[in-house]
């Protein structure tokens, strides 16, 4: 039997980090995710696994500490919430440019600016379209339960090392703050120096020796032709993500005429809305992208052959809806429903939106 507990989403991020053999966490307090670092500090994993936990002077410093730790071929992570992620955008771009792995958790709150400490999904564009400057993407996972918060830490690291690209867990204040039952995985030991050498020895800055050339962790390339080659290599990775690592969940989509597309907490609410719609005799289904990048374009396009309409339910003014439209490619109607300002939509509001925007509209 696994280790089953009742835990908060944010706390489980910390626990999962320790259990998956994470080497270091660097962070800065911000609501609604401060429990991640608080839990780590209380657990003192440096005594248990040797994992480093360091409170940095800013999110800017945190992400650059990630850059340093990742350069050593280590499993390093940070967490923050929306305004903090904006501050990290520069460093994330540098990591993508230098092809460094690392895990960033964004427990989203409402914006713009300081916005609100209440939950939101307003950072979809920032997470999936790059976020910082330059043509790069992150591998973006969107958990909708405390269990997935736990599971996606290890998964995020796995993908970020597979692609040598930063990965992000894009979650929200609800999933971060709510408590649920979670089954924790067994402890995995941190990589030994030998394992780091095996896994990342071909590129990491582990110390230059006579048998190899220098390893330089840089995003700079002054020769345009070479930089274009770099860009092409990055784009090939994003394409490979699209081919190999798309994740999604379908609930009652097989015979669905109206499909709700939602991720994170919105998918939990929408699942209830689907039940309510079915009770009314409306054939509704839920399509939940689990990876927001790579986005499940192909499957949504297939579903669009039979569906009469899609409703993208998000806690924002309409962001993922653009990707849904690009997936559906005009085959059928695509609408958006969302609440903003930190307000969580109710299942009955989603039902009304389906009725007014798709069925009646």
């Amino acid at each position: 039997m696994g280790d089953i507990r009742l835990m908060k989403g944010n706390e489980v991020i910390a626990e999962a980090a320790i259990r998956c053999g994470c080497d270091a966490y660097f962070g800065y307090p911000i609501t609604p995710q401060s429990e991640v670092m608080e839990t780590l500090m209380a657990r003192a994993p440096w005594e248990e696994t040797g994992m480093v936990v360091l409170q940095a002077e800013s999110e800017v410093a945190s992400i650059n500490m990630l850059f340093g730790g990742a350069s050593a071929g280590k499993k390093v992570m940070t967490s923050s919430s929306s305004p903090g992620i904006s501050l990290m955008a520069e460093g994330i771009s540098y990591m993508a440019g230098a092809e460094l792995p690392g895990l960033i958790v964004n427990v989203q709150r409402g914006g713009p600016g300081l916005g609100t400490i209440q939950p939101s999904q307003a950072d979809y564009f920032q997470a999936t379209k790059g976020g910082g400057h330059g043509d790069y993407r992150l591998f973006v996972l969107a958990p909708n339960s405390v269990q997935e918060m736990a599971d996606f830490v290890d998964l995020g690291f796995e993908k970020s090392f597979k692609y040598r690209n930063p990965a992000m867990i894009l979650t929200d204040g609800v999933i971060g703050q709510m408590m649920e039952k979670v089954e924790l995985t067994a402890f995995k030991p941190r990589w030994t120096d030998l394992q780091v050498e095996e896994i990342s020895g071909s590129w990491a800055a582990t110390g230059k020796n006579k048998n190899r050339k220098q390893h330089i962790m840089t995003s700079l390339e002054m020769v345009s032709e070479r930089q274009e080659k770099n860009n092409e290599r990055f784009q090939a990775k994003y394409k490979q993500m699209q081919e190999e690592d798309v994740m999604f969940e379908e609930i009652q989509c097989d015979d669905a005429e109206y499909i709700i597309v939602a991720y994170g907490v919105s998918s939990r609410i929408s699942a209830k809305a689907v039940d309510l719609l079915r009770e009314k005799g409306i054939k509704a289904g839920l399509f939940r992208p689990i990876t927001l990048f790579p986005f499940p374009n192909k499957r949504i396009n297939e579903l669009a052959d039979k569906a009469k309409g899609f409703l993208s339910v998000e806690m924002n003014a309409g962001q993922m809806v653009e990707d849904v439209r690009l997936s559906v490619l005009g085959k059928t109607k695509v609408e958006h429903f969302g609440r903003m300002g930190g307000i969580i939509a109710t299942p009955s509001e989603v039902v009304e939106a389906i009725e007014s925007k798709l069925i009646g509209g």
């Binding site: 990742a70 350069s71 230098a98 582990t206 220098q214 330089i216």
Partner: protein
């Protein structure tokens, strides 16, 4: 190769001048008369003499030294502008056995990266921080730096640095020396053979401090930028001696180790 002890450097065997094996054959892009090349060479020599090439990682800045990794044959990280101390911290914390040094200019270390500089030293990170202060932004074409002197003419202070408009030149090294995490803080230059030797000695001491875990070692090298200053290399050295040294005096500011923790313990919070 074995490490050479400081006292053995003077032995005849070690006195033959040669290019350090840690320097690559890539021609440096630095302007004639620039101090960067000399400081690079000194770091390379120290790495070779300490025999730590396999155990050292450098952090390059944004600025003229952004491509320092072309010249020193070691592993490198190239940090975002001003963030080298944070990058060095991240690396050192997960790989405490390595020697880690950051190499930054005045704009990088004392303007955009002030927070990272102060906090890395305040934490007493066991790293070496090398600070090239030439009182100007060289890479971008000679704009005013945080360390530009009052009255100094630059591309963005064409009428001379005006305190009312731009504030005062920042003596960040003196600030750094105030921080309890600092072990060794010194200001050197490389404009004469004697000064070159002193700077090398300082660099060696700083790298040796990493092993002792006594806090951060910080070396400012007051440097020339004849391109930015728009005078020739010889005049640059003279200008530096005449104008910079009075404001940025050479010598050790702190030489010891990070402050004793007991000094900072509040009585009622003591365990």
């Amino acid at each position: 190769m074995t490490a050479i002890k400081v006292e053995d450097i003077i032995k005849p065997d070690n006195l033959v001048y040669k290019k350090s094996s840690v320097l690559t054959d890539v021609p440096m892009h630095y302007c004639y008369g620039c101090s960067h090349g000399v400081v690079h060479k000194l770091i390379a020599e120290v790495i070779e003499e300490m025999n730590i090439q396999e155990d050292v990682v450098g952090v390059a800045p944004v600025g003229c030294a952004v491509m320092a990794y072309y010249y020193l044959d070691i592993d490198w990280m190239q940090a975002a502008h001003g963030r080298a101390p944070a990058v060095a911290t991240g690396y050192k914390r997960v790989n405490p056995k390595k020697y880690v040094f950051s190499y930054q200019g005045d704009g990088d270390l004392a303007a955009i990266g002030t927070a990272e500089t102060m906090h890395a030293v305040n934490r007493g990170e066991n790293i070496v921080m090398i600070f090239i202060n030439n009182a100007i932004y060289g890479m971008t074409g000679g704009q005013m730096a945080p360390t530009s002197l009052v009255g100094q003419v630059t591309a963005t202070s064409p009428h001379g640095r005006d305190v009312d408009l731009n504030g005062y030149p920042l003596k960040i090294t003196e600030l750094v020396a105030q921080l309890p995490g600092a072990a060794y803080v010194t200001r050197q230059s490389v404009h004469t053979p004697g000064n070159v030797r002193k700077t090398k000695k300082a660099i060696r001491k700083a790298f040796e401090n990493c092993d002792k875990k006594i806090g951060t070692s910080f070396i400012e090298v007051v440097s020339t930028c004849n391109s930015g200053w728009k005078i020739d290399p010889v005049q640059s050295n003279e200008w530096m001696v005449e104008n910079m040294f009075p404001f940025y005096p050479l010598g050790d500011i702190k030489d010891g180790e990070r402050d004793d923790v007991d000094k900072y313990l509040v009585q009622k919070l003591k365990k």
